[in-house]
């Protein structure tokens, strides 16, 4: 019996789609579906998390995960550079901006996010386009244009001290620009860090050579005609471009480059035009389905349980569940929401944030370890024996243990500080040092060895001859050497001289 294959259409070709395709292919999807993918950007798919590499000078191919040939080689159809306008959910047809109509049985919306662009005075030209020198930081094209514009010695202002803004600031600074981060919040990364954490981070960032002005906003973008204070004379050669910004404290900063990194919001134009239920994002249930039959949504455009996510891990979890459901590999698979884990690690600064950053209940316990000189800050939010959140700045050694405890819901040790000090854990439970077996082959303990050394076995050879330790596999010989060095009675000095 041959059954007609269903048509699966994916709108959007970002990271959620990439993972969905991988997971679908791993479940033998092509036996059941023909797949078409619509991507607005030209070319294949790339890893948006790694965009800073392109900004830093890498070839776009360095972050391209799926070049167009990848789709063709697997029998998938990619429509790249094609914008989807709406889905006709009654006729089950996807309509593109250039008038193409594509029938589907199952449609998945993975339209992602778009940058929030604050309406700054002077930012746009008469046609409403961003002026030359003003950039958002979202797509490959954004990065390539910014890179082409920025030159060593230029002045750059980054508006927004969140994850993306700081990443862009670091790359530009590394490229030889003078960089200032303007951040409206009182402290940096205020979504992921409390104020103390944000202050610690600010110190780290400033020590990298980047200037930070927190609690400030931009009042106006200054362009050539405005002749703002401090504007370089060379700016005149680039008509229509920006020369600086004026802050809300009245100060003016010269700027050849303004990067808008003010966060993202779900991209909902297609969903809205298609009449899908929308709140902050496209509303989906635990199977990632919208209430419209045959239409699903995953990634940053989807709202599940009242939450939208602006990071990639939840999108991947959603993609895996949807692949299970659509292929029937595990029809009972359900998405139950994701725990938030944010990590920023570039040379010079190191941040981890997971779960809640502040206590919620009166009974929540907060544990903070601050090392002022090292610039390290570690904070746990604990509920009973459960970890509900952690933030780490500067010293992130405990991050991997903490995120696994949070993910698994394991109880914290009686003294939660043990988690922050890997290695110290359970030292009390360890067998006492004296009883510890050093030579496993012949079961020789530390105490026995020490006694032998004191009695004159002051070389490894002598020690082995007396105790048999080290004559089996030999894996304890290093330890024997250390014991000899530590416990051998010192030769009487006077005797040695005379």
């Amino acid at each position: 019996m041959t059954v007609r294959k269903k048509r699966l259409v994916v709108v959007g070709n970002g990271m959620a789609t990439c993972r969905l395709l991988d997971e679908l292919l791993a479940r033998d999807v092509l036996a059941r579906y023909e797949i078409a993918v619509f991507g607005e950007e030209k070319g294949g798919a790339y890893n948006r998390v790694l965009l800073s590499r392109v900004l830093g000078g890498d070839d776009p191919d360095a972050i391209t995960t799926k070049p167009p040939g990848w789709y063709a080689a697997r029998g998938l159809t990619l429509f790249d550079g094609v914008t989807v306008r709406r889905i006709d959910t009654a006729a089950k047809v996807v309509e593109t901006a250039d008038g193409l109509r594509h029938r589907y049985d199952v449609a998945v919306l993975a339209t992602g996010s778009q940058p929030q662009v604050p309406p700054l005075a002077g930012m746009t030209d008469a046609e409403g386009a961003l002026r030359r020198g003003v950039f958002v930081y979202r797509t490959m094209v954004d990065c390539l244009e910014m890179r082409a514009h920025a030159r060593p010695g230029d002045n750059a202002v980054v508006l927004g001290g969140g994850l993306l803004g700081l990443e862009a600031a670091k790359v530009l600074s590394d490229g030889g620009l003078h960089v200032t981060v303007i951040h409206a919040g009182k402290t940096l990364m205020n979504v992921q860090l409390d104020e103390l954490g944000g202050e610690m981070l600010e110190r780290q960032i400033e020590s990298c050579g980047i200037f930070v002005r927190s609690g400030r906003t931009i009042e106006e973008v200054l362009t050539d005609g405005d002749a703002g204070a401090g504007a370089g004379s060379g700016a005149g050669a680039r008509g229509g471009g920006i020369v600086g910004v004026r802050l809300d404290d009245g100060k003016t900063l010269a700027a050849d480059l303004l990067v808008l990194a003010c966060g993202v919001r779900p991209r909902l134009d297609v969903a809205r035009a298609s009449g899908l239920p929308i709140n902050r994002g496209i509303i989906v249930n635990d199977t990632l389905a919208t209430e419209v039959p045959g239409v699903y949504a995953i990634g940053e455009c989807a709202e599940h349980g009242g939450r939208t996510y602006g990071i990639v891990a939840p999108a991947w979890e959603q993609a895996t569940v949807l692949a299970d459901v659509l292929t029937g590999a595990n029809p009972q698979a359900r998405y139950r929401g994701s725990k938030i884990y944010t990590r920023l690690k570039v040379a010079g600064f190191d941040v981890a944030s997971m779960g809640r950053i502040e206590p919620e209940l009166e009974s929540d316990e907060v544990i903070q370890v601050v090392e002022t000189r090292k610039g390290s800050y570690r904070k746990l939010v604990v509920r009973g024996r459960a970890l509900v959140g952690a933030t780490l700045v500067g010293n992130t050694a405990a991050t991997s243990a903490l995120v696994q405890i949070l993910d698994r819901g394991d109880p914290l040790p009686e003294d939660p500080l043990e988690v922050l000090c890997p290695g110290a854990a359970g030292a009390s439970a360890r067998e006492s040092q004296a009883e510890r077996i050093v030579c496993q082959c012949h079961k020789v303990s530390t105490a026995h060895l020490r006694q032998a050394i004191m009695s004159g076995a002051t070389s490894v050879e002598a020690l082995s001859a007396v105790t048999r330790a080290g004559t089996g596999c030999g894996s304890c010989r290093t330890e024997l050497t250390q014991l000899v060095v530590r416990h051998a009675p010192e030769a009487p000095r006077a005797a040695a001289v005379s």
């Binding site: 050694a397 696994q404 394991d410 854990a425 089996g472």
Partner: protein, 698 residues
């Protein structure tokens, strides 16, 4: 019996006890020996040795019988079952402890004398993932592509899921030599004796090895540490791999594996920038349902770093059983013929059939892999008769209770071994077999070095070789002339012809050469060929000479902890014991050192469960439950329990393990499953009745 096939300089004396000493000049172990080696002599003269064939009597008890009576009965029943149900109803099960000659003969016997495709061996539980991975990456599978002495010379050594200090102690001298002048990194969920001596220990989550290996490659690319010139010249497939690992972000890897980004970075930097670097894997990453892909992630990494084939560098796998290497080369594997030939390749079938004097068409095809074979025992599965040589399948297999049930449903179970083991409990016939010191034969160690084990003692009266069992049965099945070998050497001579031109070519190796040259490395295609101590210096074993990189995506283990079974469970070994413990549990010195299996439990978990060292915990999986004595130790991760698998019966760790198989190698997932635990007795409690009341089942 040691995995390094220690050349023991025994003294041929009539008088017991047999003393076993290491040979100070042999280049593999250089005068070191494992505690199991020191005590190996105890087994030879052990009072529990089987010394007469046993047949199951009417009353259900095993009673002594003569060799002829036992062979007659087994042959007669094999014939009867074959007539009623066809040859595929018969099966053989071998061992990585058998000599090359025996492994060769067993494969030939099952396929020629029984006419069945169903032969496999316990090495499937051991080396199969590394073998499948190396074959796909390099076009050949040899545990180490270099002599063990190269380990001592590498600047950065990564031992990945390999606890050599306890499982292969003589190897440690090379590791100690290495770490004195270089960096040693151990990757293991436990802080093992090996991890203790490492400069860095990456204590990863069980089952996350593939994610970590892919993550290291991601970082290598990100940090521009890959060797693009080497990649272009010596490999195929990098571009696709590069794109695939691009999504394996370090922060994601940190979350999955528990290995911090700093540790990931340091590891890959050290490995990449050192003039020589080596990654050796053990069973940890291999005994998983993604074991083959994990090995491919290792080969991807080492190829991308440009290390494979360079001096004192590359990837290797530490072989587990005495003849783990040779055992997998000579046709006791369901999919292979002697010389690493493939049973589904027409040329390979033709070549072997010619040597065996049969039509290639008469050779059966591919049979069932080890666990699948055992799972198919009984009327439903279709295998009604099983001959087991040197393997304690009832203890060593995953989901051990299922295997015990299936063994009990056989019409005929034959066990050939030196001791009566747990598998023999259901046997219809048991043959008493010579021990290692009582017969001659070759083994191939982890380096691909073929060595000769000498006969130093006469076997006790009544005891014979596996070869005698096979020959005796072949005669009775009408194939005597094809098995009429007068000596081990005469079998080896036929093996040489069968492997001529094959991947594992032994045709140039002779007993005389092995004696003279302290072993010969295969491939060795001619008597005047020097053998091949190092592979891959010039080329890999594909026609174009290039290695292959493969896209391997991480996937979850077959069973992960959940609300019902919230902990990871993983298994491994004690230094004192070997495999199912059928032999080592009988050695007083070893049994005293480790009289029972203990479950390792982290202090945090112990505190949460109210456990203390010396108490008892009931550990349950979806397949069964075992009561273990608890050992509270910070050496294990807080989310993981560990217990060794050397014991049978109610203490068998493999009652808990998951028989999910790797799709390529058919390796069972011994190293990861989900369990829960509760305390049934605190240390010092006087009433053991509480344990019974808590349902101490097994």
């Amino acid at each position: 019996m040691s995995v390094t096939a220690t050349a023991t300089a025994q003294h041929l004396e009539r008088e017991p006890p047999l003393e076993v000493k290491p040979d100070p000049d042999f280049p593999v172990n250089r005068g070191q020996m494992c505690i199991k080696g020191f005590t190996a002599g105890d087994l030879i003269d052990h009072p529990a040795r089987l010394t007469t064939p046993l047949l199951r009597g009417r009353d259900g008890r095993l009673v002594p019988a003569t060799w002829d009576a036992a062979l007659d009965l087994v042959a007669e029943r094999l014939i009867r079952i074959r007539e009623a149900h066809g040859p595929a109803a018969l099966a053989g099960f071998g061992s990585g402890g058998l000599t090359n000659e025996k492994a060769y003969l067993l494969g030939k016997f099952v396929r020629v004398a029984l006419g069945s495709p169903n032969v496999d061996y316990n090495g499937r539980y051991c080396m199969s993932s590394a073998a499948a991975g190396q074959n796909r990456a390099f076009g050949i599978d040899r545990g180490l592509p270099f002599p063990v002495s190269d380990i001592g010379r590498t600047k950065v050594l990564v031992l990945w899921g390999a606890n050599s200090a306890e499982t292969m102690p003589p190897l440690m001298q090379w590791v100690h030599e290495q770490r004195a002048a270089g960096k040693l990194i151990v990757v293991d969920p436990r802080r093992t004796e090996t991890a203790r001596v490492a400069h860095h220990h990456l204590q990863l989550t069980p089952g996350s090895d593939l994610a970590l290996a892919n993550g290291l490659l991601h970082l290598a690319i990100d940090q521009r540490l890959v060797d693009l010139e080497y990649i272009a010249r010596r490999t195929e497939g990098f571009e696709a791999v590069r794109r695939a690992v691009m999504e394996v972000h370090p922060a994601h890897v940190e979350r999955l594996t528990g290995v911090s980004i700093d540790d990931q970075l340091r590891t890959v930097r050290q490995l990449a920038t050192a003039p020589s670097g080596m990654l050796l894997s053990g069973r940890g990453p291999e005994q998983q349902s993604k074991g083959t892909d994990t090995v491919l992630a290792f080969t991807n990494l080492m190829l991308a770093l440009g290390k494979v084939g360079l001096p004192a560098s590359g990837y290797g796998c530490l072989t587990g059983q005495g003849n783990g290497q040779g055992g997998r080369e000579h046709g006791q594997k369901a999919d292979q013929l002697p010389g690493y030939r493939l049973i589904e390749s027409p040329e390979d079938r033709e070549a072997v059939a010619r040597v065996w004097g049969i039509e290639a068409g008469a050779l059966p095809g591919k049979g069932k892999s080890a666990y699948e074979l055992l799972d198919a025992l009984g009327p439903e599965g279709g295998i009604r008769a099983l001959l087991v040589f040197g393997s304690n399948v009832a203890v060593a297999s995953p989901d051990a209770r299922n295997v015990r049930r299936k063994l009990a449903r056989l019409e005929l179970l034959v066990v050939a071994d030196t001791f009566e083991n747990e598998t023999a409990a259901d046997a219809d016939a048991v043959f008493p077999i010579t021990a290692w010191a009582e017969e001659e034969g070759t083994m191939t160690n982890l380096e691909g070095r073929v060595i000769l084990r000498q006969r130093v003692r006469a076997a006790p009266p009544g005891v014979r070789s596996d070869v005698d069992v096979i020959r005796g049965l072949a005669e009775r099945l009408g194939h005597g002339e094809r098995f009429a070998f007068s000596s081990s050497e005469s079998i080896f001579d036929e093996l040489r012809r069968a492997t001529a031109g094959a991947r594992a070519d032994y045709s140039g190796i002779s007993y005389a050469r092995i004696r003279r040259e302290q072993g010969v490395f295969w491939p060795c295609p001619a008597p005047d060929h020097p053998g091949t101590p190092r592979l891959f210096e010039e080329r890999f074993s594909f026609p174009d000479g290039k290695a292959r990189m493969h896209v391997v995506r991480d996937r979850p283990a077959a069973e992960l902890p959940d609300a019902e079974y919230p902990l990871y469970f993983t298994t491994g070994r004690y230094k004192e014991h070997y495999n199912s413990g059928a032999q080592t549990r009988r050695v007083a010195a070893l049994a005293e050192a480790r009289p029972e299996p203990r479950v390792q439990m982290h202090p945090w978990l112990a505190e949460a469960l109210g456990a203390v060292s010396g108490g008892e915990a009931l550990v349950e999986s979806r397949r069964g439950a075992v009561t273990f004595t608890v050992e509270v130790t910070p050496d294990i991760r807080p989310d993981t329990l560990f217990a060794p698998f050397h014991w049978g019966g109610k203490s068998a760790a493999n009652i808990l393990t998951n028989p999910a198989l790797d799709p390529q190698s058919r390796m069972p997932e011994f190293k990861v499953c989900a369990v829960r635990a509760r305390i049934v007795r605190r240390a010092g409690d006087r009433a053991p009745g509480s344990a019974e009341a808590a349902g101490r089942i097994a």
